[in-house]
Every structure is written in C-alpha cells, then in structure tokens.
Amino acid sequence: MSDVTHEGSSGTAPPADNSWRQRYWKKNVRLMVVLLAIWFTVSFGFGIILIEPLNNIEILGFPLGLWFAQQGSIYTFVVLILVYALWMDRIDKEFGVDEPKGKG
C-alpha cells in the first residue's frame, strides 16, 4: 500500500459554515457502526454464540464454528480495518479534509 497522494487535492479547505462537520461525522459514525456490527457477528456470533450448531457443518475437515473461531474471524478483522481505512479516505476526500503527504 503506498502513501502517495495527489498534490492537487491538498489545498481544498473545508467549507466555511460548520454544517459539513455534522454530515462528515454522521458518515463516519454510520460506517463505524456497520463495521462493528460485522465484527461482533462474526467473532462473538459465529465463533462463540452459534459455534455448536455451526460445528455440524464440515468444510475441508473443519467444523464451521471452529473455523470461524480460529481462522475466519481473524480474516474478517483484517478486511474490516482495510475497508475502514479505504472508505475513510473517500469520505475525507469528499469533504476536502484529506491530508497532504509528508510533513505539513
């Protein structure tokens, strides 16, 4: 993953009135809530609460519940953080609050 950003976008200051702040924050919080819901469902839901029924399904030798508890949840965590970082980049850019690269 490279840190290269585009010189052009760095100059855009946020709009003068403050209503953008609320809209930006709302988008951020909504993204957070969705990702945390997935986080909880996969780890606590599939890996702990529903592990026993899921264990009746077997894939490549793994009981499915065990696979979620020891493998699947970790894959999910990695993807969740990547999605968050990339999505926040988009939101930042949309509101013109993205940071220039290097020392400001």
Binding site: N55, I59, P63, A85, E99, K101, K103
Partner: protein
C-alpha cells in the same frame, strides 16, 4: 548427539540477529525528545505496522500460544480472537483520533482531556500494567537459553537487558521502532518455516491454515485415546463454559485496545490517515502468526501423541523427550507405556508444559538443527521487541507525564528532558533486570490480567473522551477507580495472590474475563457521574470536536509555518 550442531546454530542465529539490532540502533540514535518519544512522527506506515506487530507479539504469543491451543483445543480461540479483534476497536475507535491529538503518551491525552488527577492515576496505571508485562518477557527468554544453550535462565535476563538497554537508551522510540521491524522479520520467518515444513510433512501441502483441517479427525481420535477432550469440541477446554469464553474474549479485545504500549505506536505515524493504515498493516502482520498458531498447535500435538503412542518404556520414547525432561518442562511419570498426556504436573503418565510446544515443535517434527536455532532467535526477538516497547511506556510515563508535566511544570529545557527520559529508561531496565532475576511468585499469573486492568481502566474513558463531549474529569476519575478496584478485587478474590486463599469463580467467570464487567461498570459510573456534575469547559469540548477531522491538522500546520 545432535546437541552440538543445535547449540552452534542457536548461537549463530542469536549473535547474528543481536548484531543486526545493535547496528540498526546505532544508525537511528536520537537527540531530541520528539524523536525519543514518538520518532518525530515520521515512521512510514508499513514499517510502523511491522513495529506494532513485533511490539504486540510477546514471548507469550510466540512461545506460549500454540501450546495453549494444543491443550485447550477449540477454546484456544479466546486468545486468537481476543488478541486480534482488539485491533478493529483500536483502528475504528481510538487510533485516528488519538493521533490527531498528537501528543506523546496516553496519560497525556486523558490529562488534557480530563484533569491532572486523572493524568497521574493514568500514568501510574500505565506503569503498573507495563511493568507486570515486562517481567514476563524477561523470564520468557529464559526458557530459550536454558534449553538451547544449556545456560542458566538468568543469563537470558542479563543478555536481553543489555541489548535492550543499548538501543532503547540510545534511540528511544526511533531506535526501538526500526529494531522492531527487524525483529518482526526474524520472528515471523522463524515461526512460518517450521510450520510450513511440518504441514508439508503431515498434510502433504505447504499451507498450514488449510492442512490442519484435514488432520482434525485423526487428532480427535488420538486425543480420546490419551484421555483428552476432542480438539474440535467447543467449551470443553475452559471450566466456565460459553459465558466465560465470551467474557474472556471480550476482555482481551478491549484490553488490547486499551494497552498503553500499543496505543502509543499510533502517535508515531505522519498523518491520521497513516494511523488508520498502520492499524491495518499491524493486524495483517499479526494475523500471519495468529492464523498459523492453531495449526502449529494441532500438528505438534498430533506428532507428540503419535510419538509416544505405543512406547513401552523410557528408552523407547522419542529423542526429543530427554533433553526437555532435563529442563523440567517434560516429566515422565510411568515406567511402562504412556496412556495419558496432560499439561498439569503429575496428573497423567506424561506431563508436557504448554510453554515448550512451539520451541520444541521442530524437534518433535524431526526438523534439522538450523531451523531449531532459528526458532530460538525468533523467541528471543519476540521477547526483546515487546520488552523494549514496554520499557518506553514506563520511562515516558515517569519522565514525561510525571516529571515534565507535574514536577517541573513544563519548565524543563529540552536537554534536561532528554536526560530525564534516558535516566528513566535506565531505571526501568534496572528494575526489569532485578524483577526478571527474582520474579515475584504471582507475576506469571498477573501478566494475563494486565489485559483485564487495561480493559477496565483505560478503554472506557478513552472511548467516552473521544465520542462524548459531556464526559468530565470527575466522571472519568470515578469510572477508572471503580473499574480498577472491581477488577483487581475479583482477581485477588479468585487467585492465590499475596498469600491469600483462592476462592471459587462466581458463575464460572474466570479472573481473565472480569475485565469485561469492570469496563461496563467503568462506562456506567463515568456516564452517571458526568451527568450529575458540571460539563467540561468550552475549550475542552472544542478540542474534542477538533480531533474528529483530519483536516484541522493541515490548517494548523500551515499556520505554524
């Protein structure tokens, strides 16, 4: 017989890697406090991710975790999920905002956000949590030295301390960060090579994450024969059952997100965006080891049980048993056949300490001597990198939060601050040596509970401090103390600490899981007390508002230039 080449390769890899660490440390020595505490906030994202990963994966992760999973089976997932899931919370809820705040330490954030009283309480909590943790690292290195070099484990403490001393005092955060990148590389190679080799050997396919599924049925059958519960059976490994598994996992997750030595790493990136991507890279690098650990546990267990199955007497046991028995980590309690294997001393025909399964896995799998040497270097890398990060937290809490902010009232010159910072680091290393040489009896147990304490003290007030402007100093102080006292009391109640008798777990909740409830109480008390007392000043509320937007930093920086 094969002792000689093994010792040679262990020395070879240890000297080689120590040489590399010291060289890097010398190249990145520092002169300013900003470099010393946060590496000038100039660490590239991927490097920071690797450093966080090395910092995070301690001797316990590298040496102990797969062994624990081998014995716990399915319930080993509490460590796998608990120690990775916390990064999702960290990335989404804490890292970007704390980076935006842009200071040196965690107590500094709560001090500015709440009050000086909270700052001091937080600094003391940070020191206590980091200290219990660091002693575990020092003793973890001892296992490596005792078995592979035939040296007293005391030597491990001394050698580790000298190496860390060199680069931590010289280079501060900058030296530590770049050596940790090297240490991550060493430890992940050391972990993956034997895992891939054993996977190829047993499953005929070099991806351990896939092949370990194919041996589970065989392993379950074999475990039954040796009087163990099935590897795949949920809630059989922990006495507390489902509720306890849930609480322990949650406690480890929020504890991870609240540990000062982890949070502090996100202060070192260039930008807020960098903090988000650092969290991604950190978990990516960590996941390489964590996804492999259950496979290593299952393979080693299978090899181990197959090795001793049908052995008729002591002379008939596999060759790896004897040297480990000499160090006391393996005990054979039967003259004849081995019918049962346990991780509890004296409970079965054969006792195997979970601490040694990873280090012994190349031997148990019959891999050649250089790989065993590499494994030893990997174990040391894991212990050193974590210890160094913790020592930095101890020294920065003492010198920056307590000396600079509270005693000198921010009047000390840059030069004096550097001197105090280095002296605090020297002090921390010396205390760690003394404690490592004479580990207090309860430390091993308390290490696991550092998470519970971090969960019930730091996590709630950090989250509320960022997301709820109304949270105030009185609320935070009350919440933190409630969480601390509640969790610590339950730990003391259920564990044989300080010479007190251990009591039964209430509702099967183990002391490792109590942090979840402590954190919930902390949230509750902080919210209630904050609502009953005066809201924080306009100034503080505006600060909280400003950390939500990465752009402000851009404007501020432009204004300064």
């Amino acid at each position: 017989m094969n002792l000689e080449p093994m010792q040679f390769w262990t020395f070879f890899f240890l000297l080689l890697t120590f040489g590399i660490y010291i060289y890097i440390a010398w190249r990145s020595r520092v002169k300013e406090t900003k470099e010393f505490y946060v590496a000038s906030q100039g660490v590239p994202t991927i490097a920071n991710g690797a450093a966080v990963a090395a910092d995070w994966m301690s001797a316990a992760s590298f040496i102990g975790m797969a062994g624990l999973i081998a014995f716990l089976g399915s319930d080993g997932s509490v460590y796998l999920m608990g120690w990775t899931g916390g990064y999702v919370l960290l990335a989404l809820l804490l890292a970007p905002y704390l980076r935006k705040w842009g200071k040196f330490t965690v107590p500094e954030f709560v001090g500015d956000r709440y009050s000086d009283t909270v700052r001091v309480v937080a600094a003391i909590c940070a020191i206590v949590i980091s200290f219990t943790y660091v002693v575990g690292q020092m003793t973890g290195g001892g296992v490596v030295f005792a078995r592979f070099l035939g040296l007293e484990s005391h030597w491990a403490v001394v050698v580790a301390a000298v190496v860390i001393f060199f680069y931590a005092v010289l280079g501060g955060m900058k030296g530590i960060t770049y050596t940790q990148v090297a240490q991550y590389t060493v430890l992940i190679i050391a972990y993956l090579i034997p895992a891939v080799a054993v996977s190829q050997q047993i499953g005929g396919f070099p991806v351990p994450q896939v092949t370990y599924g194919t041996i589970l049925a065989e392993l379950d059958a074999l475990r039954e024969e040796f009087g163990l519960h099935h590897f795949t059976e949920a809630f059989a490994g922990r006495a507390g059952g489902q509720l306890d598994v849930f609480l322990v996992t949650m406690s480890l997750m929020i504890g991870t997100a609240g540990l000062p030595h982890v949070i502090i790493r996100f202060y070192t990136t260039k930008t807020v965006r960098g903090a988000r991507f650092s969290a991604f890279w950190a978990l990516f690098f960590i996941s390489l080891l964590y996804l492999t650990a259950p496979a290593v546990g299952a393979f080693t267990k299978l090899n181990l049980l197959q090795g001793v199955q049908g052995a008729t007497g002591e002379g008939d046991l596999p060759a790896w048993v004897e040297p480990w028995a000499e160090t006391g980590h393996v005990q054979v309690n039967s003259d004849g056949a081995i019918d049962s294997v346990s991780n509890v001393q004296g409970a079965a025909d054969m006792y195997v300490s979970p601490d040694i399964l990873v280090l012994a896995s190349p031997e148990i799998g019959g891999l050649p001597a250089p790989i065993i040497g590499l494994m030893a270097a990997g174990g040391m890398a894991a212990a050193l990198s974590t210890a160094a990060g913790l020592l930095l937290v101890i020294s920065s809490s003492a010198s920056h939060d307590i000396y600079y902010r509270m005693i000198s009232k921010e009047k000390a010159s840059e030069k004096t601050q550097m001197l105090v910072g280095r002296l605090a680091m020297v002090g921390a290393v010396l205390v760690a040596i003394i404690a490592g040489l004479n580990p207090p009896a309860f430390v091993a147990q308390v290490v696991a509970f550092a998470f519970g304490l971090a969960a019930s003290t730091f996590f709630p007030i950090l989250i509320l401090g960022i997301f709820w402007k109304r949270a105030n100093a009185k609320g935070a102080a009350a919440g933190m103390l409630t969480g601390l006292i509640f969790s610590a009391s339950y730990m003391i109640y259920t564990l044989p600490l300080f010479g007190l008798e251990a009591n039964d777990h209430i509702w099967g909740i183990s002391p490792e899981g109590i942090g979840t409830i402590g954190a919930a109480l902390n949230f509750l008390v902080t919210i209630v007390v904050s609502n009953l007392t005066r809201p924080p000043s306009e100034e503080v509320q505006e600060m909280v508002e400003s950390i939500r937007y990465p752009a402000k930093q851009q404007l501020e920086a432009a204004g300064k230039l």
